[in-house]
């Protein structure tokens, strides 16, 4: 019998591998594209899930969230900042995505020996500092200094929930006791991810 031997051509293997790699690349491109488009006004081509919204602000006299910043006050040598995070700017303008928000503070090199405490619902969390690595994205945007994160006992970053079932706000307070070189730069960040 004249059996015809079946085999996979090296070219086909190469093609399949290339397709697999390209597929992964395109998936990554898709993620990046979706994140990018969440901040633009482009018409939708693919079905992209709604991106969350997280904002820094304060509570006004009527306890409503406004996108304004309180001034730092001083209490017994400790600087205090009352602020709030929210998932929108009003009862008709909020993100319907359930989010988990973390708070980070970047401190310039002129701030040292700092004790930074974040108080939420009467509970105080003391920040853990990490040096900003030279050459990192943070170094390029902020410069030399430290990142201060709020961690739980297992070392995981603490997050606070911003439910998408309505206009939700979490009130917070930062307390900073530190040595300072004249005037120094502090960056307060709220970073949210869609809840799993």
């Amino acid at each position: 019998m004249n059996h015809r031997k079946s085999y996979i051509s090296p070219w086909v293997t190469l093609l399949l591998a290339a397709v697999a790699v390209l597929g992964c690349v395109l998936a990554a491109v898709g993620v990046s594209y979706a994140r990018y488009r969440s901040g633009t006004e482009f018409d939708r081509i693919f079905s992209v899930r709604e991106s969350g919204t997280v904002l820094l602000g304060k509570l006004d006299d009527a306890d409503a969230f406004v996108r304004e910043r309180n001034a730092w006050t001083e209490v017994d040598g400790v600087m205090v900042l009352d602020f709030a995070i929210s998932n929108g700017t009003g009862a008709k303008s909020y993100s319907k995505v359930d989010q988990q928000a973390a708070i980070r503070v970047l401190a310039g090199p002129g701030i040292w020996d700092e004790t930074l405490t974040l108080t939420v619902d009467g509970i105080g969390y003391v920040a853990t500092p990490t040096e900003i690595q030279v050459g990192s994205a943070l170094y390029r945007s902020f410069g030399e200094g430290r990142v201060l994160r709020f961690l739980d006992e297992q070392g995981n970053e603490l997050t606070w929930s911003l439910k998408g079932d309505g206009w939700n706000t979490v009130q917070m307070q930062l307390s900073l006791a530190a040595e300072l070189t004249d005037t120094s730069l502090l960056r307060l960040q709220v970073i949210s991810e869609e809840a799993l």
Partner: protein
């Protein structure tokens, strides 16, 4: 046969397109978004006298320059002691130490400035053990009594206190806020007490020689001046602390020996912009403009820009920022502009150091902190 091959290729191509489309679609649909918001803020240390200090034996706590009058500082001890605390005596000032529930208050009273600036150490001790030391400095009055002009008869006419306050605010960085006080005095006047009353902002400076030399007014207070027929006093609010606006009562009491001859007063309203309130540059801005104080415009200016960094030994230090900036002054010597050079400078904490010299003598110096940061929205706040 050829037709079959073409069909197979089409099938493979369609399969590839489908796989790639599916990959793209899945990627988009399963993207988990990271959204951020951020504030850049400038924070300033509270003045030492405004906070409760902890005194340690190894400490020398600098309280800065004091103006005439009374200044208090509160502190606790790093280690408890049952002995009574005492403080060292100091020439030219009175120091009183009081204790209330473990919190000590050191009250310092300076009644007159020395002729030459002096630094004073005030040790705090219990028994023979020193628990810590405070350091203060008193600005020199800077007037040679021998050079005081003898008032002529032409100047015996009383002249009301003329308050010619003027304030200029630049929109960007520096408020050149000089308060000029002109005094015309009667011949009998030997000395004048100029009081910058309640509401006067801390960290202002005054000059008796049209800006050639300056003395710090820590918290307002009283300036004792030997009288001249005509006096011009400049009070510079450029470095003054908050609040950015307010009012204070300016009072001049003229004495002959210990006798009060006459009193003038004026209400002064002021408005300043905090020196560093706008000193934050982001990637979208590339220039700082500031107004040079009028009193130093005719002098030679040297400027340097330094960046705050940590050296190999872990010490904070300012080092030259290289060629990342260009500093220019306009033809009228009024506005100074700091621009980015061709390449964007590194993000970080900077200071602009300005030194004005008059025939090689440094007449005035300003240190202006500023900060450069760039948006890191695209980094998702990740390190």
């Amino acid at each position: 046969m050829a037709q079959r091959k073409i069909s197979a290729y089409w099938l493979i191509l369609i399969a590839v397109v489908l796989i790639l489309t599916l990959s793209l679609s899945v990627g988009i649909s399963y993207a988990r978004f990271v959204t951020t918001d951020q504030w850049d803020m400038l924070v300033t240390a509270p003045a030492p006298t405004d906070r409760l200090l902890v005194l340690d034996a190894a400490d020398v706590i600098d309280l800065g320059r004091l103006s005439l009058g009374t200044t208090s500082v509160s502190f606790t001890l790093s280690a408890e002691t049952e002995e009574t605390l005492l403080c060292g005596a100091a020439d030219g000032i009175t120091a009183v130490l009081q204790e209330d529930a473990g919190i000590y208050t050191l009250t310092l009273q300076a009644d007159a400035y020395p002729e030459i600036s002096s630094e004073i150490l005030i040790p705090v001790f219990a028994g023979e053990k020193t628990l810590g030391t405070f350091r203060i400095s008193l600005p020199g009055i800077g007037i040679d009594p021998d050079s005081t002009e003898v008032p002529s008869d032409e100047n015996t006419q009383e002249t009301p206190l003329e308050n010619t306050a003027y304030f200029r605010a630049t929109p960007q960085l520096l408020t050149n806020s000089c308060l000029e006080i002109d005094l015309g005095l009667s011949a009998e006047t030997d000395w004048v007490e100029l009081t910058l009353g309640e509401g006067f902002p801390a960290m202002a400076r005054y000059s008796l020689d049209e800006g050639s030399s300056w003395y710090l007014l820590y918290y307002g207070g009283t300036i004792s001046l030997q009288a001249q027929a005509e006096m011009a006093i400049l009070v510079d609010l450029s470095d003054a602390a908050q609040p950015p606006m307010g009012s204070f009562v300016l009072k001049a009491e003229c004495y002959s020996s210990q006798n009060l001859l006459e009193t003038f007063s004026a209400d002064v309203e002021y408005q300043t912009v905090a020196l560093t309130s706008d000193a934050l540059l982001t990637g979208g801005e590339d220039a700082l403009t500031l107004e040079i104080p009028q009193c130093v415009r005719e002098l030679n200016l040297k400027s340097t820009i330094e960046i705050l960094t940590t050296d190999g030994a872990g010490n904070l230090t300012y080092v030259g920022a290289g060629t990342a900036f260009e500093v220019t002054v306009d033809d009228t010597n009024r506005f100074l502009t700091v621009r980015f050079a061709e390449q964007l400078p590194q993000a970080g904490t900077y200071r602009l150091k300005l030194a004005w010299t008059d025939e090689e003598t440094q007449a005035h110096q300003s240190l202006i902190p500023f900060f450069i940061s760039y948006s890191d929205a695209n980094t998702g706040g990740a390190e």
